[in-house]
């Protein structure tokens, strides 16, 4: 056969057989990517509890209480001290700072996007925002507020004339609305409204192809594939609310301290990843300085081999380029958050 004839047949094979096969294979992948993207669509509404339905008055009161440092024994710590809107509702520190400036054992987690979860805190010991409020308020290490005596929380709030109208409006059916339950419910309503804004990632989910870079798109594929991040960091907020021992060197038993099951020793809650660039350093003990170090931590399969170590933690064999792509993807989760107006507190 002459070279010309070989060339003739070669080009026919390429155009009539190989090219269509490649075309069909590429398009067959597209429906899979589309189905994957659907899993990350933002919810339409914020959920509220039947026992604590939304009202504007409760939200208003809740916001005042959230920013009010008088809810602490020292008069210097409010919920907003550790859950500061300027630090993506965390405090930017490796570990929280509590009453009398003592450094605590765990990092302040963000309180953004938690209306969709029931089991809260690093160790899962409180249910819902409403169940979490009394914890730090009464903790001797944190706000150190007492419930008995003249300096007790309710007596203190009652003595502030300016709160009277807000409590009356928020709980109009109650003769004495100054209860711990009402304070928890009001703050809980306000906290439920703290939701991260639209991010470039959301625009890409909605069909805007140039919303994120090609490197970030590769990062998304790795996040869902080789890097295995979505085994825990799944759904629109990138957390399924699960508890795992991921193999950090920390001696903190986490959930295992109060839920005495083997699998829950050294287990901590999976945090969400929206606005994650603003929340370093990372992990419950602030031990990883930046997002690259976080991915490297997972890449080596954690640092502690224990019986309780999650079966999901194993070396990932990601290349340097792949680690960078995963980090680039996480940067696309930075939302256009609404600005927060600081309230004028009652006197």
């Amino acid at each position: 056969m002459s070279f010309r004839r070989i060339g003739f047949y070669f080009t026919r094979v390429i155009f009539l057989v190989v090219a269509p096969v490649i075309f069909l294979k590429v398009n067959a992948e597209e429906p899979n990517l589309q189905a994957l993207k659907e899993k990350y669509r933002r919810p339409e509404e914020i959920p509220f509890l039947k026992s604590n339905p939304y009202s504007k008055e409760k939200e208003t009161l809740g916001k005042l209480l959230f920013f009010d440092t008088r809810l602490s024994k020292s008069n210097m710590i409010s919920c907003a001290s550790c859950h500061n809107p300027s630090f993506s509702w965390g405090d930017g520190l490796p570990k929280a700072v509590g009453h009398e400036h003592r450094i605590l054992s765990r990092k302040s987690p963000t309180i953004q996007n938690l209306a969709w979860y029931e089991t809260l805190m690093w160790d899962g010991r409180f249910k819902h925002y409403e169940g979490q409020v009394p914890g730090p308020l009464g903790s001797a290490e944190e706000m150190a507020m007492t419930t008995e005596g003249p300096e007790a929380l309710l007596a203190k709030i009652k003595s502030i004339e300016g709160y009277r109208e807000y409590f009356k409006n928020a709980f109009p059916e109650e003769k004495d609305p100054y209860t711990m339950n009402n304070i928890s419910n009001a703050i809980g309503i306000f906290e439920r409204t703290i939701v991260s804004g639209q991010a470039p990632f959301d625009e890409w989910i909605n069909g805007k192809e140039d919303a994120i870079s090609e490197e970030a798109k590769l990062g998304f594929k790795l996040f869902n594939g080789k890097a295995s991040c979505t085994k825990c960091h799944s759904e629109w907020n990138f957390s399924d609310g699960s508890f795992h021992d991921i193999g950090l060197k920390s001696e903190d038993l986490g959930r295992g301290k109060h839920l005495k099951l083997k699998s829950q020793q050294y287990a901590f809650k999976t945090p969400g990843l929206r606005n994650i660039v603003f929340r370093g350093p990372y992990m419950h003990d602030g031990s990883e300085a930046n997002l690259e170090k976080v991915v490297e931590f997972y890449n080596r399969g954690g640092d502690s081999k224990r019986e309780s170590l999650s079966r999901l933690i194993k070396p990932l064999n990601l290349t340097k380029r792949e680690i960078k792509a995963v980090v680039e993807f996480m940067k696309t989760l930075t939302g256009n958050d609404p600005s927060v107006e600081f309230p004028k507190l009652p006197r």
Binding site: E118, T119, G124, K231, D240, G241, S242, F243, H244, L259, L261, K262, S263, Q264, A267, S310, R311, L312
Partner: protein
């Protein structure tokens, strides 16, 4: 395969279920005749209900069982472990870590409501009403 071999296999398959049933019936009949007691299952060997765990969910969120019944918890995930447990005082248990493909059976002895959860995935909840 030859037709004669196929015919032989078909004949074996066609008769074996019938043989098994006949065998069970014969055993039951013998028991009735020899002991005189009614042929009901002995106490403590209640029904076994099967619950599947898949996509980080139980296949149902509520079930009514009789005291003495059992629930077989199956992990039908591809690569996710679970840890089904309950702290309800009437039926406290901990299956511990269950790998994909694993199966563990728990007896629900005491009447009342047993709240069952997965320790790893707290959104997985099953309410067992033991009657």
């Amino acid at each position: 395969m030859k037709i004669s071999e196929a015919a032989l296999i078909c004949a074996v398959l066609a008769t074996s279920p019938g043989m098994a049933q006949k065998g069970d019936g014969a055993a039951q009949k013998d028991k009735k005749e020899t002991t005189g007691k009614p042929t009901e299952p002995p106490s403590g060997t209640g029904k076994v209900h099967v619950i599947s765990q898949k996509d980080k969910k139980f296949n149902i969120d509520k079930i009514k069982v009789k005291a003495g019944d059992k629930i077989q918890f199956k992990n039908d995930e591809k690569d996710m472990t679970h840890n089904v447990f309950s702290l309800s005082p009437n039926n406290t248990f901990d299956i511990q870590v269950q790998e994909p493909g694993g199966s563990s059976t728990v007896e629900f002895k005491t009447k009342g409501v047993t709240e069952v959860e997965c320790a790893i995935h707290p959104n997985m909840k099953l309410k067992v009403e033991v009657e």
